[in-house]
């Protein structure tokens, strides 16, 4: 009798898997994503279950759930996050040729275990009133180590994966020694202790707390859209976005990406889901709602983002490098005193 009660309680609280669904573990925190999932359900009749949280917490949960994991898709931002899931041997190769054919090779993981869904550039934001045109002509990330930028730069903390991937890309391009000396000088140019997210870096430039910020491209789109409020709209109008390293390797590009988990109970639906994310409709939806750059050719970014230019040079380095070099990047930043 007692056992029966116990099982009843477990059944009440426990997760019991059901049929036509796809379970998405996501660390993307965009309000617009549920609309995207709804569209998928409308199209295919497959129900989308979401659990959202920090990438590493999700990873730990997937690891913990092991073979019993209900997770089908891991959907996240930053290639570094995807690489870490792959390293734990928790992903399987994507089989959909539709998916594999639409994504360039430098934006896919080893063995096709994950794929980019959208792109973002880690760009430089400046205040035209405070920065001379000559100062930023042909600007490179490397130039930000110059002492003329003393007390003029803001960037978020080294805890942040976007910065870790940026530094990893520099290690890949320049080597560890040169990157470390760059990071040390960059830190000495900080206008304040790293704090807040990318948006608050852009706000700091708009408010005159600093002259230059490094932040992801889509933030300026959200701010310019007016959806984030009057204050951010006004702030966004005061700053300009610039793509560095244009006469050499190009601006650092990172991705939103997804992979199918090794023990996914709904592999077929998971492939369908990825195909959907890379469909014209979903790509259009994402560039309009989350202000990222599309993966599919022929889709234009949102007008807010397009206003900063479309023909810029992108660093073609494979995004999987960011994951490989992530531990080196984190430790390098600690050594450089990047809080």
């Amino acid at each position: 009798m007692k056992n029966l009660y116990f099982i009843l309680i477990l059944a009440l609280f426990g997760q019991v898997s059901s049929a036509n669904e796809v379970n998405v573990y996501t660390s993307r925190h965009y309000d617009s994503d549920p609309g995207l999932y709804q569209e998928f359900t409308n199209e295919t009749g497959v129900k989308v279950n979401i659990i959202s949280g920090k990438g590493s917490a999700l990873l730990e949960r997937i690891k913990a759930e092991g073979k019993n994991s209900p997770a089908d898709i891991f959907f996240t931002v930053d290639a570094g996050n995807l690489w870490k899931v792959q390293k734990e041997n928790l992903l399987q190769s994507i089989t959909s040729t539709k998916v594999l054919d639409s994504v360039p090779v430098n934006l896919k993981g080893p063995d096709n275990q994950w794929t980019a869904i959208a792109k973002r550039a880690r760009a430089i934001f400046y205040n035209p009133l405070m920065v001379e045109e000559t100062e930023i002509n042909n600007l490179n990330y490397e130039d930000l180590a110059d002492s003329k930028w003393k007390n003029r730069i803001v960037i978020r903390s080294s805890n942040n994966m976007y910065n870790q991937s940026l530094v990893a890309s520099l290690i890949a391009n320049l080597g560890e020694t040169q990157t470390e000396s760059w990071a040390k000088k960059l830190v000495s140019n900080f206008a304040r202790k790293p704090q807040g997210n990318d948006r608050s870096q852009i706000m700091a430039v708009a408010n005159g707390e600093a002259d230059i910020a490094i932040a992801n491209s889509y933030y300026i789109g959200i701010m310019l859209s007016g959806l984030a409020g009057e204050e951010q709209l006004n702030a966004a109008k005061k700053v300009k976005m610039l793509f560095p390293n244009q006469d050499n390797r190009g601006v650092h590009i990172n991705i939103s990406g997804a992979g199918i988990l090794k023990y996914a109970p709904n592999v077929e639906n998971a492939n369908l889901f990825l195909e959907f994310l890379l469909s014209k409709k979903a790509q259009k939806y994402m560039v309009e709602k989350s202000y990222e750059y599309p993966i599919l050719k022929g889709i234009l970014p949102s007008k807010e983002i397009a206003s900063f230019g479309l023909d810029f040079v992108e660093d073609q380095i494979s995004v999987k490098k960011f994951g490989e070099l992530n531990p080196n990047a984190v430790r390098l930043m600690d050594r450089a005193g990047w809080k």
Partner: protein
């Protein structure tokens, strides 16, 4: 004999469940140390220790000064507003530190509301910034200090009330000024009580994640998060967590051993309560200000800022989604409250009914969960459930991992101490002779509990449920990690919005957290009002 073991096995069983997740975390220390561990020791640990230390010292100074001074003022003097201050001084308990931190940045960032107001009042341009940056350790000290001082205020106040008037009068006759009576006589006398309250503050400060994260301060908790989230190294994170746990256990033991030292209260028959001195003019104003400022910083300021945010979105955020989040939160906290109260009742009953020294020692250990940071508990529970899922439950089509069960377990472990303290003190007021009479009349076992104890403990049970609920509603890190699919709570949605600097959207859940947090405060304040010493002047 069978009965006896039946009652005594309950605390033991609960203890096993409560300590398993914590033990799992500590076991990580025996699992070998990675490269990251040594890296942290070389470059980061010094910062973690330093900022944790500064934080604890700073917060301790503020809560000691504010808590004891305000308690002394409201128990010693009579001045306009005193009746109000007596209970209003605990209002900041309704504001979790992370919400005060969110509102502080909303107010005092260079373009926050307070700086904007200052600019427009003083007619200055946008380069002018009146209030300094709060996103640093000093800001954090103020945030913790002014949300946590009520712990010290509460214990100090009741201790001051219990001090003998004749002792103070003698001191005055011997030539001490009123202020000298405070710091030479009263303060040393209430020291044990104050230290107990202080230890709680220290433990809360060390376990916080939300506020220090928002202010970008490197402490142990943010370090644990970073190691886990940034380096994806749970093993090292758990090892760091074990270090923090060690520090907290030390404070916990200090607190418990202090509780043993009863207050030096006057027990002789000549005890008479203090007669309040009337204050006038500048002195009354001073007393008023000293009591008003902590309430202003810890309660009114965040309420003002939350109201501004609420006004800016025109209350549009109270939509279906919000209602859903709200019911999730209330439902979870109610279940936790009921479970905790039932457990505390049964365990206290078993201790009383069949006292056994070993069991009594064990059940005092049950409260240890209160001191364990939510994050550490969550990590332990995830690991524990995975183990159970892959062994005991592998044949069943149910999963413990990712179920509400884990979340509720974390809450119960974390808040059991609150329920227990309320029910324990309720039991202390029931005389043992009552039990003996009942036994003689044949009311034993269950019926003693049901017919005699529960009716007498009604208020204590209700209080314990409310205390637990208000704590669960605020809980952040464990919820963040353990919540199931498609499931949000108020604290999580406030955190998610705030971490994206979308403060206006964070307002709705934050307001709801504060409002529900006010309910137990209301009951507490009623108790405070009824605990006033008998007045015989005027």
């Amino acid at each position: 004999m069978n009965r006896l073991s039946y009652w005594s096995s309950l605390p033991l069983a609960v203890l096993v469940v409560f300590t398993a997740p914590i033990l799992i975390v500590i076991l990580s220390l025996f699992g070998g140390f990675s490269e990251n561990w040594f890296h942290i020791f070389d470059y980061l640990i010094f910062d973690y220790v330093k900022s944790s230390l500064i934080l604890v010292l700073g917060v301790a100074s503020i809560v000691l000064a504010v808590g004891t001074v305000t308690a002394w003022i409201v128990t010693t003097y009579n001045f306009p507003g005193k009746r109000l201050f007596e209970w209003a001084l605990i209002l900041p308990l309704a504001i979790p530190p992370y919400i005060l931190a969110y509102t502080f940045t909303g107010l005092f960032d260079p373009f926050g509301d307070a700086n904007n107001l200052a600019r427009s009042l003083l007619g200055m341009d946008s380069n002018f910034v009146l209030f300094p940056n709060v996103r640093n350790i000093y800001g954090a000290i103020i945030v913790f200090g002014f949300t946590l001082y009520p712990y010290v205020y509460l214990v100090s106040r009741s201790a001051f009330i219990n001090l003998s008037r004749s002792m103070q009068e003698s001191a005055r006759l011997l030539g001490l000024s009123q202020f000298q009576v405070f710091y030479k006589l009263s303060l040393p006398l209430i020291r044990p009580a104050v230290i107990g309250g202080l230890m709680l503050v220290v433990m809360e400060t060390l376990s916080d994640f939300g506020a220090v994260d928002h202010f970008a301060i490197q402490t142990f908790t943010t370090g644990i998060f970073r190691t886990w989230y940034g380096l994806y190294d749970l093993q090292t994170a758990m090892q760091l967590a074990s270090l923090l746990l060690l520090v907290i256990v030390i404070f916990y033991i200090l607190e418990r051993s202090n509780r043993g030292n009863e207050l030096y209260s006057s027990s002789n028959s000549t005890f008479s309560p203090n007669i309040e001195q009337n204050l006038y003019g500048i002195n009354a104003l001073l007393a008023f200000s000293l009591c008003f400022i902590p309430i202003f910083i810890g309660f009114l300021l965040p309420i003002i800022e939350l109201s501004i945010w609420a006004y800016e979105v025109n209350l549009k955020f109270f939509d279906a989604n919000f209602i859903n989040t709200f019911t999730n939160t209330i439902g979870l906290s109610l279940v936790t409250g009921l479970v905790c109260a039932a457990l505390a009742l049964l365990i206290n009953f078993s201790e009383r009914y069949k006292p056994l020294f070993v069991i009594n020692r064990l059940s005092s250990l049950l409260s240890v969960g209160y001191a364990v940071p939510g994050l550490i508990l969550a990590v332990g529970i995830v690991q524990l459930f995975v183990y159970l899922d892959t062994t005991v439950f592998s044949s069943l089509d149910v999963l413990l991992t990712g179920s509400l069960f884990g979340l509720i377990l974390a809450y119960v472990i974390k808040t059991y101490a609150l329920a227990n303290s309320s029910i324990e003190s309720g039991y202390e007021r029931i005389s043992n002779s009552l039990d003996d009479s009942s036994k003689i009349l044949g009311t034993v076992g269950w019926s003693l509990l049901r017919k005699i104890h529960i009716p007498l403990l009604k208020t204590s049970i209700l209080t314990s449920i409310l205390l637990v609920m208000s704590d669960v509603i605020k809980e952040l890190p464990a919820t963040l990690i353990l919540r199931p699919f498609n499931f949000e709570t108020l604290a999580v949605s406030a955190y998610v919005y705030a971490s994206e600097e979308r403060m206006i959207q964070a307002a709705a859940p934050a307001i709801a957290i504060v409002m529900t947090g006010l309910i137990p405060i209301f009951f507490l304040s009623k108790m405070i009002r009824s605990s006033r010493p008998v007045k015989n002047d005027e």
